[in-house]
C-alpha cells in the first residue's frame, strides 16, 4: 500500500529534481547563448548568404521581365528567327534598364555564358535613345502639354485603360525610386511616349470617345512614322539575329539556376540539358582533383615527418620534451606570411637550397632544381606550415601510451620492430587519425601560401574562388565552387567529430 502522502512527496521530489535539472540546463544554455548568437550573426549567416549566390539568378528576369516572359513559350532552334514583337518587348525592357544602367549588368552577367553579350547590351542601351522616341514625345506633348509633367502620368497610371503604359510607367518609376532619382520634377522619359502611343493606337480600334486623350492624340499618332524595332536593333548589332543569343537569355531567365554548379563541374547549360565543355575550357575538375591530390600528399608528408618527432617527444622526460616542443611551436606561432616568404627565399632557382646543392656539387649550376612556382613548392611550404598540427595531436596521444606495453612485448620475445608494429603503433592510431584529418581539413582550404609559391600548377581551388570574387567578379561561380569545397570540408569535419571528438583538439 502506498500512501497518498508518499506519492505526493515522491512526486514533489521528482519535480524538484526535474526543476533543478531544467534550471541547470537553462543556465548552461544561457551561458552559451551570447556566443552562439554572435557566431551565428558574424559567421554562419554570412557564409550561408554567400552560398546562396551560387543558385541565385534573379537579375535577368528582373531587368528583362517582358522579354523573358515572351521567350518562355518560344522554341528556339537554329532556324528560329526572333519575331518583331520580341524586339518591342526588348526595347521597353532595355529602355527602363538603361535609365539606371542595369542593362550592362545583365550584359556582363550573360557574357559569362556567351561571349559578346556584354557589348551587345552596352551598345544597344546606347542606341535605343536614337530610335526616334523623341519625335513621339514632341508630337504628343505638342497636343497635350500636360504630358510633360509627372503628375499627369500618375493620373494616367491610375486609370485602367492603358494597361501596358501603366505597367511600364510603374516599372520605370520603381527603378528611379530605387536609385533615388525620382521626384515630382522628374521628366517622363521619351520611350514612355512610344509606349503610350502604342497603347492608344491598339485601343483605338474599340471606340471609347470618353477620353480626350484619344481624340487629340490618335490623329497625330497615325501620322508618326512607325518605329521598326527589329531593323533598328539589327542595325545596332547583327548579333540580335543570332538564335544563340536569345537561347542564352532564355536559358538564364529562371530566378534560380544550376548553371554555376554545372560550370564548376566543367559542364554548361545547353538547350537539351547539361553538356560537357570543350576540352580547352575544362578547368575545375582538374583543379579540384589537384587540390585533393596535394592535400593528401601534404597530409602524408606531415605524417611521415610528424610521427617520428612526436614519438621522440613522447618518450623524452617531460622537462626536455617541453623544451623540444618549443621548437615545434615556434614555427607555428610565426606569421604565416613570414614563413611563406622564407620558403620563397629558400626554394627559388637562385635560392639558398639550390645554392647549397650546387656548392656541394650534388647538381651542376645549369640543372638547378625547380622547387617553386609549382606543386613541389606548395607541398614543401605547406607541409612545413601544417606539420605542428600533426605533431601536437600525435604527441598528446602517444604521451598516454605506457612504455610497459612495449617492454612486455619485448620480454615476450618480440623484436623491437614487431613490438612497435603490433603493440605501439595500433595504440597511436587515434593520434594519426586526429592529426591527419586536421591537417587535411586545413590544407584543402588553403589560400595564401599556394597563391605566393604555387605558380600555375600548385594552386588550390581556394585561389580560383578568390579570383572569381575579387577579379573576374563572377560571384555566382565563386560561390558555387565555395559550396562544393565547404561540403567536402564539413563532411570531413563530421568524420573528425565522430572519430576524435571536436573537444579533443589539442593546442599547445
Amino acid at each position: 500500500m502506498v500512501s497518498v502522502d508518499s506519492i505526493i512527496g515522491r512526486n514533489s521530489l521528482h519535480r524538484k529534481v526535474q526543476r533543478s535539472l531544467r534550471i541547470q540546463k537553462l543556465r548552461a544554455l544561457g551561458l552559451i547563448a551570447p556566443l552562439f548568437i554572435f557566431i551565428l550573426i558574424s559567421f554562419v549567416i554570412p557564409i550561408g548568404d554567400m552560398l546562396f549566390r551560387s543558385i541565385e539568378n534573379q537579375l535577368v528576369s528582373e531587368v528583362l521581365p517582358r522579354t523573358t516572359e515572351y521567350l518562355k513559350s518560344e522554341q528556339i532552334n537554329e532556324d528560329w528567327e526572333p519575331p518583331n514583337e520580341l524586339f518591342w518587348h526588348l526595347y521597353v525592357d532595355l529602355a527602363i534598364a538603361a535609365e539606371v544602367k542595369l542593362h550592362t549588368r545583365v550584359g556582363s552577367r550573360l557574357n559569362y555564358e556567351k561571349t559578346g553579350i556584354s557589348s551587345l547590351f552596352r551598345k544597344s542601351g546606347r542606341s535605343i535613345k536614337r530610335f526616334g522616341a523623341d519625335d513621339y514625345r514632341k508630337a504628343l506633348t505638342d497636343q497635350i502639354p500636360e504630358l510633360t509633367s509627372i503628375d499627369y502620368w500618375e493620373l494616367l497610371a491610375e486609370g485602367t485603360k492603358y494597361g501596358y503604359t501603366r505597367d511600364t510607367y510603374n516599372a520605370w518609376k520603381k527603378r528611379l525610386i530605387e536609385n533615388d532619382d525620382f521626384s515630382e520634377k522628374t521628366k517622363p522619359s521619351d520611350f514612355l511616349f512610344v509606349v503610350l502611343a502604342n497603347d492608344i493606337k491598339s485601343s483605338g480600334t474599340t471606340p471609347s470617345p470618353d477620353t480626350i486623350l484619344e481624340e487629340k492624340l490618335l490623329p497625330v499618332i497615325s501620322e508618326l512614322p512607325e518605329i521598326r524595332f527589329k531593323e533598328l536593333f539589327l542595325e545596332t548589332d547583327e548579333d540580335w539575329a543570332e538564335p544563340d543569343v536569345w537561347d542564352t537569355i532564355q536559358l538564364y531567365s529562371p530566378s534560380f539556376t544550376n548553371g554555376y554548379y554545372l560550370n564548376s563541374a566543367d559542364f554548361k547549360k545547353g538547350s537539351d540539358g547539361p553538356e560537357l565543355r570543350p576540352e580547352n575550357e575544362r578547368l575545375y575538375v582538374l583543379i579540384f582533383s589537384r587540390t585533393l591530390f596535394m592535400s593528401v600528399t601534404i597530409t602524408m608528408v606531415c605524417l611521415l615527418l610528424g610521427y617520428p618527432v612526436a614519438y621522440f617527444l613522447a618518450n623524452l622526460p617531460l622537462k626536455y620534451a617541453n623544451l623540444f616542443l618549443i621548437l615545434v611551436l615556434l614555427p607555428f606561432w610565426t606569421s604565416l606570411l613570414v614563413r611563406t616568404s622564407a620558403w620563397k627565399v629558400l626554394l627559388q632557382n637562385e635560392g639558398v637550397i639550390n645554392d647549397v646543392l650546387v656548392a656541394i656539387g650534388l647538381i651542376s649550376n645549369l640543372e638547378r632544381l625547380e622547387l617553386i612556382n609549382n606543386q613541389t613548392g606548395t607541398i614543401i611550404a605547406m607541409s612545413h606550415i601544417l606539420l605542428p598540427f600533426m605533431i601536437l595531436p600525435l604527441f598528446s596521444v602517444m604521451k598516454t601510451i605506457h612504455p610497459s606495453y612495449v617492454r612486455a612485448a619485448k620480454s615476450l620475445g618480440a623484436t623491437p620492430w614487431t613490438a612497435f608494429r603490433r603493440v605501439y603503433f595500433p595504440q597511436s592510431i587515434p593520434g594519426i587519425g586526429a592529426g591527419s584529418i586536421l591537417v587535411f581539413i586545413l590544407s584543402i582550404g588553403y589560400y595564401i601560401t599556394p597563391e605566393l609559391v604555387g605558380g600555375t600548377t600548385g594552386t588550390f581551388i581556394s585561389n580560383r574562388i578568390a579570383y572569381h570574387i575579387s577579379s573576374s567578379l563572377n560571384w555566382g561561380l565563386g560561390a558555387a565552387l565555395g559550396s562544393i569545397l565547404l561540403a567536402v570540408v564539413l563532411a570531413l569535419y563530421w568524420v573528425y567529430d565522430r572519430v576524435v571528438g571536436i573537444d579533443n583538439v589539442k593546442l599547445g
Partner: protein
C-alpha cells in the same frame, strides 16, 4: 576622472567643430612608387593650397570594381576618387558606378587654350575616364647572361626564341598582352590581331605559340614580381610596366635593359564614383581639375617614368626629382622608344575577357 571626461568632451567638440569645415577625401590608387608620385605631384600641393581638405590614401585599385559594387550594395560610399585602368573604368561606367563627365567642362584647357578633350585626345576611352598617364607593358632582359654569347634581344619575338636566348622568362598571368604578342610573333599583322583572335582557330594558334615556351615561363601577377626575379636572376627575360623597369635599372642599378619593341600602350586615370554628396563632390572636382592640369601631369613624371596623358604636358617633362636624370628619354612615348607600339583594344577585351580568361587559365593549368 572627471577632468579626463571633460577634456575628452572638449576635445570631441573641437574635432567636431573642425570637421564641419575640413573635408576628408579618400583617394584610391595602386600603391608603391606610383602612389608616391601622385602624392608628391598632386595631393601634397593641393592640400597646401586647400588646407581644409585632407586626403586619405587607399591602395585598393586592384579591387576597385568589386569594392565599389559592394559599397553600392551597402549604400555606403566611402571612396571619393579612384585611380583605374580603362578596362575597369569602362566596366564601372557600364554599371553606373562611375560618373560620366564632360572633360571640357571639368578640366582645365591647355595653357594655349586647346580644350581638354583635344589635349587628351585618344586617351579618353570612356565617358567616365579622366586620363592621367600613358604607360606601357613591355619586356626587359638581363644584360649579363653568359649563354647568350653577347647577343641582346632586339625584337619582341626573341622572347619566343629559346635557342638564341635560353633561360627563364616571366609573363603576366592573364591572356591580355600575351596572346597579342604570340600572334604577332606567329606572323599575324598588327592590325589583324584582334580579328584573328576572335576565332577559335586564332585563339588556339596564339596558345600554341605560347606552348613553345610554356615550360620556361614563370607567370607573374603582381607588378613587383618581374623586377624581383630579374634582380635575383630567377628569370632572364620578362614583362612588366615600364616604370618598374626604370626603378630597377636607374634606382636599383641592376644589369637590365628595356626592350621597347611592341610595347603595349595603356592609359591610367581617375574615375569619380557616382553618388557622392555635394560637398565631397565639389572638393573632388577641385582636386581633379588641379591634378590633371598641364603642369601637374608633367610634374608627376619627375617621380616615375610614366608619360603624361596630355599632349601639352610633354614639353614640360623635366628631370627626375632625386636622381637628376632627364626623364623624357625614359617615357614610353618618346620617339626613340615608341618606334613600334601596340595599342590595346579595350572594347574588344571587355567582350572577350571572360571567355579567353577561362581558356587561358585552363591552358595554364594543364
Amino acid at each position: 576622472m572627471k577632468l579626463t571626461k571633460l577634456s575628452t568632451l572638449v576635445l570631441g567638440c573641437i574635432i567636431i567643430a573642425n570637421s564641419s569645415q575640413a573635408i576628408d577625401l579618400t583617394v584610391v590608387s595602386w600603391g608603391g612608387a606610383y602612389s608616391k608620385s601622385q602624392i608628391n605631384a598632386y595631393h601634397n600641393p593641393f592640400m597646401e593650397l586647400n588646407p581644409d581638405v585632407n586626403i586619405i590614401h587607399d591602395e585598393s585599385s586592384y579591387e576597385a570594381v568589386a569594392k565599389l559594387r559592394a559599397m553600392r550594395e551597402a549604400g555606403n560610399l566611402t571612396w571619393d576618387l579612384v585611380d583605374a585602368v580603362p578596362s575597369d573604368a569602362i566596366r564601372l561606367c557600364d554599371e553606373g558606378l562611375a560618373m560620366e563627365v564632360d572633360v571640357d567642362e571639368i578640366l582645365e584647357p591647355a595653357p594655349d587654350g586647346t580644350p581638354a578633350s583635344e589635349d587628351f585626345g585618344a586617351s579618353l576611352v570612356s565617358e567616365c575616364f579622366i586620363p592621367q598617364i600613358v604607360y606601357s607593358t613591355t619586356l626587359g632582359f638581363r644584360t649579363d647572361v653568359e649563354s647568350w654569347n653577347g647577343n641582346e634581344p632586339d625584337d619582341v619575338c626573341d622572347v619566343f626564341d629559346l635557342e638564341s636566348f635560353p633561360g627563364k622568362r616571366s609573363l603576366e598571368k592573364r591572356p591580355i598582352n600575351n596572346l597579342e604578342w604570340a600572334l604577332l610573333c606567329d606572323g599575324v599583322a598588327k592590325e589583324d590581331i584582334y580579328d584573328v583572335l576572335e576565332t577559335e582557330e586564332g585563339q588556339n594558334r596564339a596558345l600554341a605559340k605560347l606552348d613553345t615556351i610554356k615550360d620556361e615561363v614563370i607567370w607573374w601577377s603582381a607588378g613587383a614580381d618581374t623586377p624581383q626575379w630579374l634582380a635575383d636572376g630567377e628569370v632572364v627575360f620578362g614583362s612588366t610596366y615600364n616604370g618598374r623597369f626604370f626603378a630597377l635599372i636607374e634606382e636599383a642599378k641592376q644589369p637590365v635593359k628595356i626592350l621597347w619593341d611592341a610595347q603595349v600602350f595603356e592609359y591610367d586615370g581617375w574615375i569619380i564614383p557616382t553618388g557622392l554628396p555635394e560637398d565631397r563632390l565639389a572638393a573632388v572636382l577641385d582636386l581633379v581639375r588641379f591634378a590633371t592640369d598641364t603642369q601637374r601631369l608633367a610634374d608627376q613624371a619627375k617621380y616615375i617614368s610614366y608619360g603624361p596623358a596630355r599632349t601639352s604636358s610633354n614639353a614640360l617633362v623635366g628631370e627626375h626629382a632625386t636622381l637628376g636624370i632627364d626623364m623624357a628619354p625614359h617615357m614610353p612615348g618618346h620617339p626613340d622608344n615608341a618606334y613600334n607600339v601596340f595599342y590595346f583594344n579595350y572594347d574588344w577585351w571587355a567582350d572577350y575577357r571572360d571567355d579567353l580568361d577561362a581558356k587561358f587559365q585552363a591552358w595554364l593549368a594543364n
